[in-house]
């Protein structure tokens, strides 16, 4: 289906380019070029560059082509003179041969596979650390193969998502300020970071026996606008397995997550948003409700990480806690948000230089056309107040009388 569309639109693009080249009327050429630009905007959509497709339509097919048409009509150049006696008669066959050679070279490179297209890559993995270990003094330090990811991360806090290279890593949890070369880590885990993943290293459990959980979140944005994606981590030490249920009673259709062992993370699950109660049940048996968290507002179009944990109170009892960490879904590839983020984060300096070039272009256009403005003023003055002998006769009678007088 997509291939058929590609062939049809590609044929239109090539045809409009050819017609632009051979049409004798410059206005027709400009309109064929607009058609060609529209086809290219369509290809941008196919290549998941939605922002660029809109910019192509607005800037290229809109602003730039209007400028072209304006100049064509201003100069009255739409009717082209026949191109007589070319100065280089050998130029036409030469140009065609050169273009064909170029095409054959590129096609050969593509067909013989000289372009390395073996590996399709997506975005880098993103990682962060979440600390839900109660009573860990000073917070947590987390090292990834000896590189410190965070230091002194407080209870209930999460670090920002950071891009990281893919690969296999050892993740180690230390007490804040510990020396990783001298001390034994409190907990370790091995993790494979793959392209396009968003991974939260979640530390749960007690200070004496913490556990690191690798929670793989899905931040690509939910497929429906009223839905959100949830990853659940079980950090309730008293419950070897939990079920997470929407509402307060454990009817089968409201179960969100089934049989999640302690110290593990669920897969990302899409649920619908809105105000709701969230209950946690002990495994399988629906009679044992651990806790209900009432009136949770699940705002849609987010990725959420739910961490159920236990917190000890000063009087030696404990309560179940429910941490919700919200992440706005990462902008999808080629969306306005992602292009804007790249422009204003990594490409600020080139952006400013381009703005400077545009300013210079504006000034240049003014200077280039400045002389003409002066000429036109002189002409207007002369026309407004011409000497009497230069005044043109207006009516045929006047012309006749003038000729008789002169004759």
């Amino acid at each position: 289906m997509e291939l058929t569309l590609f062939i049809i639109v590609g044929a239109i693009a090539v045809l409009s380019a050819v017609l632009m080249l051979i049409s004798q009327n410059a206005v027709h050429s400009a309109l064929f070029l607009v058609l060609n630009f529209a086809c290219i905007a369509f290809f941008y959509l196919m290549l998941s560059a939605s922002f660029l497709a809109m910019v192509q339509i607005v800037v290229y097919a809109g602003a730039i082509m209007v400028l072209f048409l304006f100049v064509i009509m201003l100069l009255g150049a739409e009717r082209l003179l026949p191109e007589r006696n070319p100065r280089f008669p050998w130029l036409v066959p030469m140009a065609i041969v050169l273009a064909l050679v170029f095409l054959v070279a590129v096609s050969l490179a593509v067909i013989r596979g000289e372009i390395d297209l073996s590996e399709r890559a997506s975005a880098q993995p993103y990682i962060r650390v979440v600390n839900v270990v109660d009573q860990l003094e000073g917070g947590a330090d987390v090292y990834l193969d000896g590189h410190r990811l965070v230091s002194g991360l407080e209870y209930g806090q999460a670090s920002q998502f950071a891009p990281w290279d893919r690969g296999r890593y050892d993740v180690a949890l230390y007490k804040a300020g510990a020396d990783p070369s001298a001390e034994e880590p409190l907990a370790t885990i091995k993790v494979d970071l793959n392209q396009g993943e968003a991974v939260s290293f979640t530390a749960v459990g007690t200070a004496a026996d913490p556990v690191l959980v690798v929670a793989n979140e899905d931040l690509r944005g939910a497929s429906r606008s009223d839905a959100l994606r949830v990853t659940v981590v079980n950090g309730v030490r008293a419950a070897p397995m939990i079920d997470v249920v929407r509402g307060t009673d454990a009817s089968e259709d409201a179960v969100l997550i089934n049989d999640l062992p302690y110290g593990e993370a669920s897969r990302p699950t899409t649920i619908s948003g809105g105000m709701t109660d969230i209950s946690v049940f002990s495994e399988g048996v629906r009679r044992d409700r651990l806790v209900t968290f009432e009136n949770r507002d699940l705002s849609p179009e987010q990725g959420q990480l739910w961490v159920f944990g236990t917190r000890y109170l000063p009087d030696n009892s404990y309560e179940d806690v429910f941490h919700v960490l919200e992440t706005n879904a990462l902008p999808s590839f080629g969306s306005p948000a992602s292009v804007g983020l790249a422009l204003f984060a990594r490409y600020v300096l080139p952006m400013e230089m381009v703005a400077l070039v545009l300013l210079v272009a504006m000034i240049g256009a003014l200077i280039l056309t400045k002389d003409m403005v002066g000429e036109r003023r002189v002409v207007r003055r002369r026309l407004a107040n011409p000497p009497p002998e230069l005044q043109a006769p207006i009516t045929p009678e006047a012309t006749a009388s003038r000729t008789t007088i002169e004759g």
Partner: protein, 104 residues
């Protein structure tokens, strides 16, 4: 990200065809405005290849570069058309074969 149905090679081929057509226009047409339009066509062909490779590698840099190319193209068109208008005022022609002399 689901696998694309249209291969990157096809986009590169199409972009090469459009680029060659643009080159032909620059070399063969004698009207300065049409030469400019052909340059726009070539820039667009290059942009198409950039977008195809940006998708191939999952890297936004290609798309950002397209954005810059579009901006530069706008600046180039402004200057170029101003030049054409200025030349037309003095020589009453925009045939580039007649612009080979600095005098008259």
């Amino acid at each position: 990200m689901e696998a694309p149905e249209v291969a990157t090679e096809l986009f590169v081929l199409l972009s090469a065809i459009l680029f060659a057509l643009g080159t032909l226009g620059v070399l063969l047409r004698r009207n300065a405005i049409l030469v400019f339009m052909s340059i726009e066509l070539m820039l667009n062909a290059a942009n198409l290849a950039l977008a195809a490779f940006a998708r191939q590698w999952g890297n936004l840099d290609g798309q950002v570069l397209i954005f810059f190319v579009m901006t530069i193209a706008a600046a180039e068109v402004a200057i170029g058309l101003a030049l054409i208008v200025a030349i037309f005022r003095t020589k009453k022609s925009i045939n580039i074969d007649e612009l080979h002399l600095f005098k008259h």
